[in-house]
């Protein structure tokens, strides 16, 4: 019998882009299906592969997961909203 847990269940996250990152991705929002326990850094690599222009401005990328600023090592959960944006310039 094939036990549960042998296969990694996919998770789905919503990626939203702002300012230069929205221009570079050519969209405001996308959905990504990822293996369970994917890190923010791994997602960023996927996004950068899909969008060459995002890769080019990657060094200025800030990341928020569910509206909280996070580092690249954070692990993603199903249903997370990941925002990619440049440093804040405010009003």
């Amino acid at each position: 019998v094939c036990g549960w847990g042998i296969y990694e269940l996919p998770i789905r996250v919503r990626v939203v882009y702002f300012a230069q990152f929205s221009d570079a991705a050519g969209t405001r929002e996308e959905s990504y299906e990822l293996p369970e326990s994917t890190s923010v850094a791994e997602l960023v690599s996927r996004v950068s592969s899909a969008h060459e222009r995002v890769e080019r401005i990657r060094q200025m990328m800030n990341i928020a997961v569910n509206k909280m600023i996070v580092g690249p090592g954070s692990t993603l959960q199903d249903g997370d909203v990941v925002a990619l944006f440049p440093p804040i310039t405010g009003g």
């Binding site: 702002f18 230069q20 925002a83 944006f85 440049p86 440093p87 804040i88 310039t89 405010g90 009003g91």
Partner: protein, 143 residues
């Protein structure tokens, strides 16, 4: 919290009147207002318009958090802030910060803290539309 129903991020004109009402209190005799407007001289030339982009859901949370933090650290102060998004022309109001307190020193300080925290922490970005037709995002280290 004051102004529970108030949208801190708005895609239409922002008015000082309703914000003044939110910090109104017969015991608070000093009211300080900061108004930020789109200016015509940009970093690299004359500006015709400015587009403000925001991560609205997060910006709402951060602006409320900043107001709460300031009011907690300064008893008797009331602070409320509102920021406009979308494409604005030169002279249009992009941000208003209103602080009230019994005396002027605390109101000035709270108002200053509010606008500085917007600049530092609220996820808003701006793109200049230059008179010569070019468009450019304003760099974070030059504002």
């Amino acid at each position: 919290m004051i102004g529970m129903e108030l949208e801190r991020i708005k895609d239409a004109e922002i008015d000082l009147g309703p914000l003044m009402e939110l910090v109104d209190d017969p015991e608070l005799g000093a009211v300080v207002v900061f108004v930020g407007k789109v200016r015509s001289n940009g970093e690299v030339g004359k500006v015709d318009a400015m587009t403000y982009d925001a991560y609205s859901e997060m910006a709402e949370d951060v602006m409320r958090e900043v107001e709460q933090k300031v009011m907690k650290s300064m008893p008797n102060v009331k602070l409320v802030m509102q920021h406009r998004v979308g494409k604005l022309g030169v002279g249009d109001i992009s941000v208003i910060v209103v602080a009230s307190s019994p005396k002027r020193a605390a109101a000035f300080e709270a108002c200053r803290m509010g606008i500085e925290e917007i600049k530092r922490r609220v996820p808003i970005w701006k793109k200049e539309h230059l008179a010569d037709g070019r468009e450019r995002w304003v760099d974070f280290d030059k504002t």
